[in-house]
């Protein structure tokens, strides 16, 4: 009996999100035909890849009651590092990318180590790392090029960011592969179950013999790795490494994740929820820019959207408890 009720609730959530998604899509299509033009859809999907991959990285971390808001600046920093290595240092392309990803992974590891070993509040610690990484990105870029943006143009990256396969932009395949991996790990493996258990109640998990600290440090490290992948994507899509690349990524990414049903209290959420969250956020912002809404209004809307999402879930949860 109870289970049925629970399942119905969950389905309702996903349905509501899907309905919102289609409604938005229909609205923007009707208001402006340009919105459903192949070119726009293709750009939109390409733009979605970056926030999408990041939102996926946040999903297991936040299910296990962790949080990282420094990934945007980690992307800025790694993009600069990769561009400096390649363009200034003349290093091989692949090696530059690999080193960039490793640097980002290390940053994630340090975040996790500090948060878990010293029991710090994740949002505050990563706020600190955020500032440090922003500064480092500027320092590195300035030291080597006296600017904050460094070209990194290669045939391979250009090919990757502009070609399609079966009319689907190549970067989108990266997102598809990551969705598959995350879905599999979270819902089909023992590691996935352990992550949910930690999120449901870390003390219970610990007393069940789960190495909570170790798992969480790994999740932070993995989030770092994902930020590194984000760095590669952004360099490929734009052709530059830039100190401000990622500084505006935290807001839409977190909005997408929270909209998808992940709670700051941990224990809930899924890859499908996150995916729908990403789609909704992308459709809204692309739709608004197609309508030529000025960017400061879009930012205003981003803030409002985040607050609305969090409030809506909170009200819903209180109602659910009242029964």
């Amino acid at each position: 009996m109870q289970t049925k009720i629970k399942k119905r609730f969950k389905l309702t959530d996903t349905y509501i999100l899907l309905i919102i998604l289609f409604a938005l899509f229909a609205f923007f299509s009707l208001v402006n035909r340009q919105f459903i033009a192949y070119n726009n859809i293709s750009t939109m999907l390409k733009n979605m890849v970056l926030t999408g991959v990041l939102a996926l990285g946040l999903t297991p971390l936040m299910i296990a009651r962790g949080l990282d808001i420094s990934f945007g600046n980690s992307i800025s920093f790694t993009s600069v590092v990769m561009a400096v290595l390649f363009t200034v240092g003349g290093l091989n392309l692949w090696l530059s990318l690999v080193i960039g990803v490793l640097v980002a992974t290390l940053i994630g590891f340090i975040n996790g180590l500090l948060i878990e070993k010293f029991d710090l509040i994740p949002i505050i610690l990563t706020l600190g790392t955020m500032a440090i990484l922003q500064a480092l990105a500027l320092v590195v870029a300035n030291t080597f090029t006296q600017t904050y943006s460094i070209l990194m143009l290669t045939d391979q990256l250009y090919y990757f960011s502009t070609r399609t396969f079966l009319k689907i932009p190549l970067p989108l395949f990266v997102l598809i592969v990551f969705v598959a991996i995350f879905w599999f790990v979270l819902s089909k493996t023992k590691v996935g179950r352990t992550i949910y258990l930690i999120g449901a109640n870390p003390k219970v998990a610990y007393l069940c013999g789960v190495k909570v600290t170790k798992v969480k440090i790994l999740l932070y490290t993995f989030m770092g790795f994902i930020a590194g992948i984000g760095g590669v994507l952004i360099v490929a899509l734009t052709g530059v490494g830039m100190s401000y690349h990622g500084s505006k990524l935290a807001l839409p990414t977190l909005s997408a994740v929270l909209l998808g049903g992940i709670s700051l209290m941990g224990g809930s959420g899924s890859v499908w929820g996150t995916l729908i969250g990403i789609l909704i956020v992308t459709v809204i912002f692309n739709g608004l820019s197609v309508l030529n809404v000025p960017s400061y209004f879009i930012q205003l809307f981003q803030g409002l959207a985040l607050i609305t999402i969090v409030a809506a879930y909170e009200i819903r949860n209180k109602r659910a408890l009242a029964f």
Binding site: G192, L197, K203, V204
Partner: protein, 496 residues
């Protein structure tokens, strides 16, 4: 010494919780200038009675009359306004604030301009503290005071303003002898000033020394009410303990095997001191101690949740350094914590996920979680322990306390634990489920599992344990074969 005037009359109070009748037609009265001792085991109904008086629970059946006026409190605020103050066992002071701020928490004295007048408040605080015979500086930080000092401040906070009835819940549990004497003189002073006091304790000695009259509760009923001078300790212990559970749950004669668990000179800070004991296959060893005796800490250390300061633990003859619950689990230990909802069960997960949570690594080959295997394993325990729920997919939060506890037990059965640590395994669960937990423990013994148990319920200890170890102030003060001792003897030893 008490006046004849009655300040408080609680008559025919009953209180129902799902599955438990916490208070059953209890009537008490309290005179002006009287110190009334309230006695009873855990779960006897003392706290429920006090919570009704303090407005934390609403009154459902019965009457509360204070100074001749009937009251029906719907919030603690109304109870405070009626002159009732409760000092809880776990002190509720604001540690980083000053004594002064603690005394006047929630209210301030202002000067004519409407600003807070610290000077006036400090003078007032000093005056109150002086009437209590204390020289604590009103500007001292709460966290720097001794437990006794904090207690005095709590009393000062409670009595400033209009106080008629003061309830003190185990006020001496963390005090040493000198402080206790001090506290007594404060209490007597309050009595002189016309306050009526309800004094809750486990310790017989205190009842004899400080109270005028004593009321005993047992299983939600009042079983004794007499002048302290007309009763004695052993009489009171008999009233507190009363029932014999062992008649209802005859202990099976199970053959004991080898020693599987041995602890040598284990210490943890100053909470557990130099504890040594052993456990055999098929044996149930119970630990009994009052609050602060160190039994809970001992179990936390044994399962690796806290690290022992010194001492050795042997499992099946092998010395093991239990540095984490993970190590404990791998060496065959299972743990049923005292705080089920915070530490025992993940409420937002379902029954099967909880049952297999100790054994995720065995749910299929490699890193894939095999849901079919998980379902089979969980269903097996679900049926064997007779967990009452629609299916293994039911959320843990929708289960009753007793069924939740069975899920926690199932978790360690699933892991095939050889040594089970049960910390107050039947706390807050109904009588039926209690009996089932006892049966499970005995079934385990037949499968050569060893069970260690902490319990504050003597009838339970008498009913299911083979041996009982009494602790006091972190030390073992007695070990008995359960059949050769009595509840009275154990209670005496624990509470001296």
């Amino acid at each position: 010494m008490p006046d004849n005037e009655i300040v408080l009359e609680m008559s025919n109070i009953s209180k129902n919780f799902p599955g438990v009748l916490a208070l059953d037609d209890v009537s008490i009265n309290l005179h002006k200038r009287e110190i009334l001792g309230l006695l009873g085991e855990n779960g006897a109904g003392k706290s429920t009675l006090i919570k009704i008086l303090s407005g934390a629970y609403t009154l459902e059946q019965g009457k509360v009359i204070i100074d001749g006026v009937e009251h029906r409190f719907s919030s603690p605020y109304e109870s405070l306004s009626a002159g009732i103050r409760v000092i809880y066992q776990e002190l509720t002071s604001f540690e980083p604030l000053t004594v002064l701020e603690n005394i006047f928490a929630g209210e301030v004295i202002t000067n004519r301009a409407g600003f807070v007048s610290w000077r006036k408040m400090a003078a007032e605080a000093k005056k109150i503290l002086e009437t209590l015979g204390s020289e604590i500086n009103p500007y001292a930080l709460m966290e720097n005071l001794s437990v006794a000092g904090k207690q005095i401040v709590e009393i000062a906070k409670a009595i400033h303003g209009n106080v008629k009835i003061l309830v003190m819940d185990e006020p001496t549990s963390a005090l040493d002898e000198k402080d206790v004497t001090n506290l007594y003189s404060v209490i007597r002073k309050l009595r002189q000033q016309g306050v009526a006091i309800i004094y809750i304790t486990h310790r017989m000695e205190e009842i004899v020394q400080i109270t005028d009259r004593v009321i005993v509760l047992r299983d939600g009923k009042k079983v004794g009410d007499s002048k302290t001078s007309q009763t004695n300790k052993s009489n009171l212990v008999n009233l507190i303990v009363g029932r014999e559970l062992s008649d209802q749950y005859p202990k099976r004669d199970i053959k004991k095997g080898e020693v599987i668990f041995e602890v040598k000179k284990l210490s943890y800070l100053n909470k557990v001191k130099n504890v040594s004991f052993n456990l055999r296959e098929g044996e149930i060893v119970a630990f009994f101690g009052l609050l602060g005796a160190g039994t809970h800490q001992l179990f936390s250390v044994l399962f690796g949740d806290k690290r022992a300061t010194t001492g050795e633990i042997y499992i099946e003859g092998k010395k093991i350094n239990i540095s984490s619950p993970n190590v404990a689990k791998k060496n065959g230990l299972g743990y049923i914590p005292i705080d089920r909802k915070e530490e025992g069960i993940a409420l937002v997960m379902d029954i099967k996920q909880n049952i297999t949570s100790s054994n995720i690594e065995e749910m299929g080959n490699g890193f894939v979680l095999n849901r079919k295997i998980e379902n089979e394993h969980a269903s097996r325990w679900f049926n064997a322990l007779n967990i009452k729920a629609p299916s293994v997919d039911t959320l843990a939060s929708s289960l009753s306390g007793g069924n939740q506890q069975k899920v926690v037990v199932a978790k360690w059965l699933e892991k095939n634990s050889r040594i089970l640590l049960m910390n107050e395994p039947t706390r807050g669960i109904d009588v039926g489920a209690k009996a089932e937990i006892y049966l499970i423990a005995e079934d385990l013994c037949e499968k050569r599992v060893g069970v260690l148990m902490v319990s504050s319920e003597l009838p339970e200890i008498m009913a299911i344990s083979d041996r009982v170890i009494v602790m006091r102030d972190g030390e073992i003060v007695g070990q008995f074969i359960t059949r050769q001792t009595s509840q009275e003897e154990l209670m005496h030893l624990a509470s001296v």
